[in-house]
Point group: C2
């Protein structure tokens, strides 16, 4: 249907090879032929067929980005960054949603989809280190988040233990002593929950507070309704908490909703902290204190690592710890009327 190089070559009166050389800015082409080919290209409105080029190169030019759900703000914000960085380097990004289901994650990593992609950035929820370790290195993969184990594949994440510890220590620093945690998961394999719980416990112990198991509430997933429900559970306790560390902002926003709807004053009666720094938390009332991962750095590093692998790098799996910082807002620091 479209205009091919052959058409351009014919119009310019040169061979296909020469036309190709001009398109690819090859050095040794005389100025005369170059301009002749250029004008033929303009006249015909020629645009290279990327599919053919990719077949020739044995590459697709496509990077996969596999996320649990695109409508979770943290992942949407991350996807935005990844697409921007990739595009800047002339790569396109195909997004797949896994819903955190193991079968879907497996399909993307080693199924037929894998053949289409030159590389994959995946934030796995179900698949564990053992799976990636056993994987033949057919397709370059970069792992995002806490599910990965060192030595398995390239991996980008923040220091989650430290992040959780910072958040919890901040609450303790406010004078709170009954600090709850929302986000624990019953599944033993859940990476994020495990490391953030560890940081939470560490902060309590460092302050000489004995962790109260009744204050650690498990959830099914990390969405607002889960946080709201967990908070209802905590409020119903005979001895409710005076602070809550939520393992992500969505849980925190759900918990916040329950607190306000129940007439509990935040942060006076219960202070609350999340993780992710999604935009919602900057405009809730009260605004949400949170631990902000450096999303731009994460996206940048993930794409860079992946591109290096695609380029042929065979060094051992690398680990990049991205930066994070606590952002104190009204949900722990008190309300500021403007």
């Amino acid at each position: 249907m479209g205009v091919s190089l052959k058409d351009v070559a014919k119009l310019a009166g040169v061979s296909v090879k020469t036309a190709s050389n001009v398109v690819n800015d090859y050095r040794h082409v005389s100025e005369a032929t170059r301009t002749r080919v250029r004008s033929a290209i303009d006249e015909l409105g020629y645009q290279p067929n990327l599919t053919a080029r990719h077949l020739r190169y044995g590459r697709s030019g496509l990077l996969g980005l596999a996320l649990p759900e695109l409508d979770v703000p943290y992942f949407a914000e991350l996807a935005k960054e990844v697409i921007a960085v990739a595009e800047q380097r002339s790569w396109s990004v195909l997004i797949d949603q896994t819903d955190g289901r193991g079968d879907r994650e497996r399909l993307l990593v080693s199924g037929s989809r894998a053949r289409t992609l030159d590389g994959l950035i995946i934030s796995p929820l179900a698949l564990g280190a053992d799976y990636f370790a056993a994987l033949r290195a057919d397709m370059p993969v970069v792992l995002l988040g806490e599910k990965a184990a060192p030595g398995t594949a390239d991996h980008v994440a923040i220091d989650n233990v430290a992040a959780a510890e910072d958040a919890t220590a901040h609450l303790i620093g406010l004078g709170r002593r009954r600090v709850a945690a929302i986000g624990h998961q019953r599944e033993p394999s859940a990476g994020t929950a495990e490391v953030r719980l560890r940081g939470y416990r560490r902060a309590l112990l460092a302050a000489g507070i004995r962790p109260d198991p009744a204050l650690v509430v498990p959830v099914d997933s990390y969405h607002r309704p889960d946080g709201a429900e967990a908070m209802r559970h905590l409020l119903a306790l005979p001895n409710p908490p005076d602070a809550v560390f939520c393992f992500n902002d969505l849980l925190a926003l759900g918990a916040l909703r329950t607190l306000l709807a129940s007439g509990v004053r935040v942060p006076e009666e219960v202070a609350i902290v999340g993780v992710d720094d999604v935009e919602d938390g900057r405009f809730s009332t009260p605004t949400l204190t949170t631990v902000a991962p450096d999303k731009a750095q994460i996206a940048q590093a993930a794409v860079s690592m992946l591109l290096e692998r695609i380029g042929g790098s065979r060094c051992r799996p690398r680990e990049l710890i991205a930066g994070h910082r606590l952002i104190v807002r009204e949900s722990t620091a008190g309300r500021t009327l403007e």
Copy 2:
């Protein structure tokens, strides 16, 4: 690098054509050869090279989805649906972010990127009806939102005038008489702003209220900070509003933040409505009354229309009006403590 059909054919002792026939479930293949080829496929772990297949077919198997920004909840939720629907029909989706910039939108619609895609679903902010009308129908395009004009290209949107009218009428029905509007845009071409403003005015006039130009606040974009700033402007008015219709939920959430931070009671002193029904508004305090477009229907219709065009349909441009409904929550109905 990978295993090709040729390898499969050789191992099975048949021609490439026969192997291809088996892969594509062609009818006339003897059971014996079929099983022989099947086992060769299993043994070699063969997976078809989609790039080659696409070159052969003159198609890429890729649908483009061009949105202003992926981290705007409405677009993230829409993208989630579009990807899900497309995948179900065995198509992949490439997301591009335009930032609402005309040059980027143009690039996607008619630039080199267009050659890679079999079709494009675009939510244009800058490009107007005249542009799409002049477009040669090289690549099938489906337009999302209000920027499109009938007859230009396939188009999916809600009835925005009615939606805005419903929202405004609801506020008037509460007894409010000074109803402000946040979301007007100075650019004369801004589609969404125009139609929603029309619905707003229509509702006022229907109730016998003279529109007060001072209550119509223009914004630069439709993000939370814009809503927050516009609301500050309204509160500073000598005669501030007792209700606000915001042209989307993000503006409403920003405005809500300003109201609460200023100590204004919502909805007692100022009631507020948005459009989009993003999840944030279901968990804010107060929860946000909004007009919910049927996102699933929009995604479904957009993909279906596009696929029909790709399939060769040449009927005149179609217009699909997706459903919408008002969802009343606390920001207009009063707070419900649980």
